[in-house]
Structures are given as structure tokens and as C-alpha cells.
């Protein structure tokens, strides 16, 4: 993975070594579009970090990313290539969908982390509601582990939520119960925030590993050590997020 910028025409970023020649004017200054004649270039299959000309680091300047996103949109978007030939329009469509997908993924801290883990070939447990439904429908056991430090609290909370649902069905209202559940919710949200803090320390670990290796691939075992920690945090975080969502749903019902 390269750490060099591939965005040749944006800001003052240096010209990378791996520019291609433009299909149209032949100038050696083309990445997503030709810096010389402005023509959209055929898309090349790159990961989202490389698309934005960035090393795969997790601490990321979102404001700068947004600026790059806007600048590239002004070059790649189909609306601005509507008068080009059909092949160029096709490339414009593909390039700009890649741009949008990359921006959507990288600007969000969780999606960005999950994407890096995907690039590293690490799978997360499935915590989505769809996964739950699917597991229920197929009878398969869902891959979901309750974080040990939450076992007791989750057990109690689930009992209370069940009681709340029963009460609502009977048309009863127990202010104390609602208060207790709301208390759990606040505690869970605090845990959620703490986990995000923890995740950021692993981001920093990862980024310095990348920097130490100057763009060449860091040893697999060192990478795996950090990604394992991230996976653990994300799994716990997803679990808590789903709990909070269930609590909100139960309180709103």
C-alpha cells in the first residue's frame, strides 16, 4: 500500500511517482482525472485510503477529507461530464460512486475502523438486527458473545425490559421501573463513550506502526496484535449500542 498521494491536482499535494498517462492527451499527470486536460480516467481497483491518496491511518482530518471529497466531486461527478462520450460517462459514474463510497466509509470513525479491519482480513461478529432475524429464521446460532463484564447488568436489564413490555401490554405504568431502566441507559451510554476513547488509543498504536514502517508493510503479527484489540472494542461497542437501541425502543413504545 502506498503512502503517496494520488491526488495530483488537489491543493499543493506533490505529484506521485505512480501517475499514469492520460488516455486522452497522453500527459503523464493522470490519476482519477487528468491534471492537464481534466478528462476523467478509467477507474482502477484501489482501496478507499489509496483512492484519497492517504496512508491507511485511522486518525484522520475529517475537514481535509471533506475538502478533497468536494474537490474530487467537481471533477468526477456525472453531472459535470454529461457532455462527454459514453465511455467517459461510464468512468465518471464508476469513479464518482467509488468516491462517494470511500468518503461515506472514511468520514465515519466506526465505519473507517471496520473498513481497515476488512482490509486486514479480520471479521467482526454480526450484531445487526438483520443478523438476529436471520439467525432466528434459519435456527442457526448467532455469533454473539455478551462481554463478560456486562453479563450481570445485561441480565438484570433484560428482565426489566421484559417487565416494562408486559406492563405496557396491560396498560400499566411503573415510574420506578422506567427510572431504573433510564439509569441503566445512562450507564451504558457512558460505557459506550469510554469504549470509543479506548478505540482511539488503538488507532494511535496503529498509525505509529504504519509510520514506523514508512509505507512498507508492517510485520503481520504486530498488525494482528492491534487489530485484535480493535475487534474486541468494536464487538463490545456494537453490543452496547444494540442494547441502548433496544432500551430506547422499549421506552418509546
Amino acid at each position: 500500500m502506498t503512502t503517496k498521494s494520488t491526488l495530483t491536482a488537489i491543493g499543493s499535494k506533490p505529484l506521485p511517482d505512480d501517475t499514469h498517462s492520460c488516455w486522452s492527451c497522453g500527459d503523464m499527470r493522470a490519476a482519477h482525472f487528468c491534471a492537464s486536460c481534466g478528462k476523467v480516467q478509467p477507474p482502477s481497483p484501489v482501496d478507499y485510503f489509496t483512492f484519497f491518496g492517504m496512508p491507511p491511518k485511522l486518525n484522520l482530518d475529517v475537514a481535509a477529507l471533506e475538502k478533497d471529497f468536494y474537490d474530487l466531486s467537481r471533477r468526477l461527478h456525472p453531472d459535470l461530464n454529461a457532455r462527454a462520450g459514453s465511455q467517459e460517462q461510464e468512468w465518471s459514474l464508476e469513479q464518482s460512486s467509488l468516491l462517494n463510497d470511500a468518503y461515506r466509509t472514511l468520514r465515519d470513525p466506526i465505519k473507517r475502523t471496520e473498513y481497515l479491519l476488512h482490509l486486514e482480513g479480520v471479521a467482526l461478529e454480526e450484531q445487526s438486527k438483520a443478523a438476529t432475524e436471520r439467525a432466528r429464521a434459519t435456527g442457526e446460532v448467532k455469533k454473539q458473545i455478551v462481554p463478560p463484564d456486562l453479563l450481570e447488568e445485561v441480565f438484570e436489564l433484560n428482565m426489566q425490559l421484559e417487565e416494562l413490555r408486559m406492563n405496557k401490554k396491560m396498560g400499566e405504568d411503573d415510574p420506578n421501573l422506567t427510572k431504573e431502566i433510564a439509569g441503566h441507559k445512562i450507564a451504558l451510554e457512558a460505557k459506550h463513550d469510554a469504549l470509543l476513547q479506548e478505540l482511539q488509543t488503538y488507532w494511535t498504536d496503529w498509525d505509529s506502526l504504519i509510520e514506523r514502517n514508512h509505507g512498507s508493510k508492517a510485520p503481520a503479527e504486530e498488525r494482528a496484535k492491534i487489530t485484535a484489540k480493535m475487534v474486541d472494542v468494536l464487538n463490545r461497542r456494537n453490543y452496547i449500542r444494540n442494547l441502548v437501541r433496544d432500551v430506547n425502543a422499549a421506552l418509546e413504545e
Partner: protein, 666 residues
């Protein structure tokens, strides 16, 4: 990449017609008109439709031959089965309701099973032999037509209005759709364009189009919410404006909520009243229902500016229905309807991760936002006074014209403007157990894509079926079925070995494209599409309104008529000019030249040669440029001498309204 459909190659008619020709309109002065590519912007509305284009740096609505900017979206079949569109079709609604149809937009891209509610409230007459899963067919007299065909008739009328205005063919358009339209509804709109002989360069979401019209003149950064309550649809869009980029952050809506619902409520109440008070059941009497509909719509409009209104409707057998409605009663009645806009607004805020206080401006779009109660609701919800600078009936069409200009290469006014829109609904595929696996989430900036991998379950399996869905629900049966794809021609391999990569791409129109490739063999897999609610390519081709040759013939005839009218105008203007003091300032030679050109024009005007007439008009136009300038000077100097511009004979100028003018409320 294989599209859902191969795009029809609409013959490109880039004939530059008399670029930069001078023409005298109704004024005595030469007005420079630029005829460039003529990409028009069309608002294909539930109640009214409009066509607009960028005149220089300003979008303007092109009026119909009756001078009205709004073409009612009503289609009727005349006595000799010729289609009648717009204002002239309206009387058929009352006289021969079985030969007229309105609000057809409600049926676009829908199946018989999802219009049961519509059928109770609207006098749509479906073909008797309609099967579930089939594209709807509506009876119009003895004919049956699909919703895209009926919409195409409206589009063709707009196309003709534009062609009359330009004096040149129009083949390319941007058409607006409600932001919350799903794939099938968008595809149906695109089909309607093709049937009308238009190449649809882009489908633009209505609220976003409106924001373009507003943004053209303001060009400021901030968060803008567009609340669009039209005749039949409701949309809310939240945008971030940043140096000319219009980035939609979240959108939500209801494609079956609008002024129609208010009308239907008032009609139902009137019918109940009539049954109770007068003992007449008129529910099956289509003529009477339409007469009541007309009256309640007028009452609804009047109640936006008056505290109360008196209904007085003539009924069959000499009976009358009289009733007074106060604004207070009206507001109570419609509260449940307008409250239905609150949920989508809240969801949009949530999706945008914003609070109402963080919105910098709120813009109102759609005729129903003229209702004071609706304005009050918006003010309360968004904690600020909404903007109503632009006519809410016209702003979407004006925005479509701006987008058309951007697609055509832009101009000074649209420089740096770029719209980044989103998909309103999540795209999913059905997985084991009838569950929806969402692969592109709602509010993703489009174009957007997702790649999925499929394999086989038995040895040598050659086909894989994929069911694509749109919607937010967890179960496939609760989502909207878009299409079923069959991946075919997978090379024979042991079960689980093939790896078919399927790429789903939502394009800038919000329409899905799918392509597939078997990775192990590198073979492009074949995709067979069965759209759940749409026309096939062949069907659309068969529907294209009259052959192009015919259209050319029609166009030439109309062109000739237009040229003759223009001749009349310019000759009349010249007569007037000869009587003005400016005439005396011309040299004898100039006068001689003009007289020669005048004679030449009068001569060719009797022939059927359009080109010759055109040439003679242009020649006379150019020859009288100095006269027009002198007259302009005279007019200006007399104005300076204290005469008002009205007194000096300035003529009427162009008839198209200035889009930045104060909105006119009825």
C-alpha cells in the same frame, strides 16, 4: 456495466438553430435571444406541470399557448379521440369524466395491489382484464393506457410549448421527481420521457431542484431544509450548501400525501352532508363529484386568504348544496393530514444528526404550502419563519432548468454549482429466511455502489436468483420488491466454488444498475431482469408517441405558422416605428434598405418556405437594429424628461416572468 435497460438511442438533434438571431418580440425593440442546446427543465407534477429553461443567467418558465405558466396535469380524450392536455382538458373532467384523468402521478410505478386506497378516492378506471403484477392500464374513453403513456402526453405538451417558444426542436430534458420516489416510480418517469420523445438527461429530486433555484441567487453557505408539500407528494430534504455544492444530507417523505388528500376529505364531507341533508347519494355520480371537487378546491384556495368561504354547488335535479366553512373549521379538518408531515421531518433531522435549531433556512415548495396552517406548522417545527420568496408552484421547474444548464456545460450563473443528492430508501437483497440484507443505506450520496458475492449450493448449478428490495423494514415481504435477477451461465463447478461478484450501482438518477462477473472464470455472468412493476424495453419502444418522422412533419408545420406570426409582429412593429420620431433620424439609404427588406419579407411570407421566411425576418431584424436603438434612446430620454415608462411606448417585453420576482399568491 449492464443497465437494467439498454438506453434508447434518441437521435441527437443538435441542430443549432439560428444561434444568436435577433428577433422582435411583442416589443418594438430587438431582443437578443441565445438559442443553445435547449435542454429544458420539466416539473411533472401531480396537479400541474411546467417547463422552464435558462434564459441567459436566469431560469424562466415557458408559458403554454394559453399564456399560462402552469399546464394542469389533466389528460382528456376529445370527440375524435385526440388527446387534450392541460387547461382545455379540465372541462372534460366535469362534462365527460370517463374520458378524462387527473393525478396520474399517483399511479406511476405502482401495481394494482398497492393502489387500493387510491381507487377509493380517485376516479381511476382500470382496465377490467388487469392482472396482479402487471403494469396498470387506465381506461380513457375506449382506450387503455399505462400511467407512463398518460404522463408522456403531458410531457409532449410541455415539449411542444418549449418548441414553439424556441422555434426549434427540443429533445433533451431534466425531469423532476419527488425525492421519496422509489426505483420503480423513477423508472416509470424516465419511460414517460422516452415515450414523449425526450432524452431524459437526469431525474432530479423536486426539493433539491427547488434549492438550486433559491441558491442561484443567494450563493451562501449553511444548512437549508426544503419542505415540499405538493398536490400528491410530500418531501423533506436537508441540505448543506458549501461554495456552490448542494449536498443533501438527509431526505424523507410520503409519496401519497398532498393537496389531493385535503380535496378528497372535503369532497367526502360534502357528499356525506348532501346525503344527510338533501337525501341524495351522489357518490356514484361522477359528474356531480367532479363539480363538487372543483368547488371545494376553489374554497380551499380562498381559505388561504379569507376567514371564511361559502360553498354553493348546483346539483342534479335542481338541488343546491350550500355551506359556509370558516378557516378555523378548515384548519381543524386538515390537521390530521398536515400532521402526517411531522414524522418524516423528525426522521430527516435524526438521519442528518441535526436539531431544528441548527437549520439556517427553511424553504417552502408546492402549492399546499400556501395554506397558513401549514406555514404555522413549519414555523413551529423548524423554529423559524420559512422562506417564500419564489412562487412555490414554479420553483421546482426553475431549479430543473438550472440543473439542465449545469448538465449542458454550465454558464456564468451556474459556475461552481454541483448537486450531490442521496438515495431516499435503503437498497437490500433478500437472504435466507426472508430477511432483507441492506447493502446501500438510505441517505447515501449517489452514485453509490455495493458489491456482493454469491455462490452455488449444488454441484454444476448454472443459475443464481437474486431478489432486490427497497425499503427500511427488516423483512423482505415488508419492503418494496424492485426486481428479480437471474444470474445465468455460471460455469459448471462443484457447489460453493463459483464466486459471482454482483455490483449494485445506484446512478445519479437514483435508478439501480446491476452487473455481475464470475470471478474464478472471469466470465461476465448474464443477468435477466424481471422488474416487479415496470415496462420492458420493448413495451416502451412500442409506445413512443408517433414516429419521429411524423414529429418532424408536425414540427415543420408549426414552425411555419410561428414564422408567419412573427412576420405579422415585426411588420406591425415596423409600421409603428415609421411613425416614431426615430424614423426621421435614419438616412435615406437606411430607409430604402428597410423598405426593400420589408417588401422581401412580405413576398416570401406568402410561400411555404420556412427557411426563406426565417431569413427574411432575420434580415429585417438586423436592418432595423439602428432604428430600434434610436427608439430606445428616445424612450429613455422621454422617461428622463418626466414621462413614466408606461406612457412611452415600450411594448410588453418578454412574457416570461422574472423568476426572482415576489411570489404571487392567489
Amino acid at each position: 456495466m449492464q443497465r437494467w435497460r439498454s438506453e434508447l438511442k434518441v437521435r441527437s438533434q443538435n441542430e443549432e438553430v439560428n444561434a444568436n438571431h435577433f428577433c422582435i418580440l411583442t416589443s418594438d425593440f430587438c431582443i437578443l435571444t441565445m438559442s443553445s442546446d435547449h435542454i429544458v427543465g420539466i416539473d411533472l407534477g401531480t396537479t400541474n406541470s411546467l417547463v422552464a429553461f435558462m434564459q441567459g443567467e436566469t431560469p424562466v418558465v415557458i408559458p403554454g399557448d394559453d399564456g399560462s405558466n402552469l399546464v394542469p396535469s389533466v389528460v382528456a380524450l376529445g370527440e375524435s379521440s385526440q388527446p387534450i392536455i392541460g387547461n382545455s382538458a379540465r372541462r372534460y373532467l366535469i362534462e365527460t369524466p370517463e374520458r378524462a384523468v387527473y393525478s396520474i402521478k399517483r399511479l406511476m410505478g405502482r401495481g394494482i395491489e398497492d393502489i387500493q386506497e387510491e381507487l377509493k378516492l380517485f376516479p381511476f378506471r382500470l382496465a377490467e382484464d388487469l392482472q396482479p403484477g402487471e403494469v396498470l392500464r387506465i381506461k380513457l374513453g375506449n382506450h387503455t393506457s399505462t400511467p407512463p403513456e398518460i404522463s408522456a402526453l403531458i410531457l409532449r405538451q410541455l415539449k411542444r410549448n418549449a418548441e414553439r417558444y424556441f422555434g426549434a426542436p427540443v429533445t433533451k430534458a431534466v425531469i423532476t421527481v419527488p425525492a421519496y420516489f422509489n426505483d420503480a416510480q423513477r423508472q416509470a418517469t424516465k419511460d414517460a420521457g422516452r415515450i414523449a420523445g425526450l432524452e431524459v438527461l437526469r431525474l432530479v429530486n423536486e426539493p433539491t431542484a427547488a434549492s438550486l433555484a433559491y441558491g442561484l441567487d443567494k450563493k451562501q453557505n449553511g444548512i437549508v431544509a426544503v419542505y415540499d408539500l405538493g398536490g400528491g407528494t410530500f418531501d423533506i430534504s436537508i441540505l448543506k450548501l458549501h461554495d456552490g455544492i448542494f449536498e443533501v444530507i438527509a431526505t424523507n417523505g410520503d409519496t401519497h400525501l398532498g393537496g389531493d388528500d385535503i380535496d378528497n376529505l372535503l369532497i367526502t364531507i360534502a357528499l356525506d352532508d348532501i346525503r344527510g341533508d338533501l337525501g341524495v347519494d351522489l357518490r356514484r355520480n361522477a359528474e356531480a363529484v367532479q363539480a363538487i371537487r372543483k368547488a371545494v378546491i376553489e374554497a380551499k384556495i380562498a381559505l388561504s386568504s379569507q376567514p371564511s368561504v361559502k360553498l354553493d354547488i348546483e346539483l342534479p335535479q335542481g338541488k343546491r348544496y350550500r355551506r359556509e366553512i370558516t378557516r378555523e373549521q378548515f384548519e381543524q379538518l386538515i390537521q390530521p393530514i398536515i400532521d402526517r408531515t411531522v414524522g418524516p421531518c423528525k426522521q430527516a433531522f435524526k438521519d442528518a444528526n441535526l436539531k431544528p435549531e441548527q437549520i439556517d433556512e427553511v424553504v417552502l415548495v408546492g402549492g399546499s404550502t400556501r395554506i397558513p396552517k401549514v406555514r404555522a406548522l413549519v414555523k413551529e417545527m423548524f423554529c423559524r419563519e420559512p422562506h417564500t420568496d419564489l412562487n412555490p408552484d414554479e420553483v421546482v421547474a426553475l431549479g430543473a432548468a438550472v440543473q439542465a444548464n449545469i448538465l449542458g456545460g454550465g454558464s456564468l450563473a451556474t459556475e461552481n454549482m454541483l448537486l450531490l443528492d442521496v438515495t431516499p430508501l435503503s437498497l437490500g437483497i433478500e437472504v435466507a429466511g426472508g430477511v432483507t440484507d441492506k447493502i446501500i443505506l438510505r441517505n447515501s450520496t449517489i452514485p453509490a455502489s455495493a458489491t456482493q458475492f454469491y455462490t452455488t449450493q449444488i454441484d454444476g448449478q448454472a443459475n443464481v436468483a437474486i431478489h432486490v428490495l427497497q425499503g427500511e423494514r427488516e423483512l423482505a415481504k415488508d419492503c418494496r420488491s424492485l426486481a428479480r435477477f437471474d444470474l445465468k451461465g455460471i460455469p459448471p463447478m462443484a457447489a460453493g466454488i463459483p464466486r459471482v461478484e454482483v455490483k449494485f450501482l445506484i446512478d445519479a438518477n437514483g435508478i439501480l444498475n446491476v452487473s455481475a462477473r464470475e470471478q474464478r472464470s472471469g466470465k461476465q455472468a448474464e443477468i435477466q431482469v424481471q422488474p416487479s412493476y415496470g415496462l420492458t424495453d420493448e413495451q416502451v419502444e412500442g409506445m413512443i408517441l408517433d414516429s419521429f418522422d411524423n414529429a418532424e412533419e408536425d414540427f415543420r408545420k408549426r414552425q411555419l405558422i410561428e414564422a408567419r406570426n412573427e412576420t405579422e409582429t415585426i411588420l406591425a412593429a415596423l409600421e409603428k416605428g415609421k411613425k416614431s420620431p426615430a424614423w426621421g433620424q435614419l438616412t435615406t439609404d437606411e430607409k430604402k434598405q428597410i423598405a426593400k427588406m420589408e417588401k422581401a419579407l412580405a413576398a416570401v411570407n406568402k410561400e411555404d418556405d420556412y427557411q426563406a421566411i426565417r431569413k427574411a425576418i432575420d434580415a429585417l431584424n438586423q436592418g432595423t437594429t439602428r432604428l430600434a436603438e434610436l427608439m430606445m434612446d428616445t424612450a429613455v430620454s422621454s422617461a428622463l424628461k418626466g414621462k413614466t415608462m408606461d406612457e412611452t411606448d415600450l411594448g410588453e417585453g418578454t412574457t416570461a416572468p422574472h423568476p426572482m420576482a415576489k411570489a404571487e399568491f392567489k
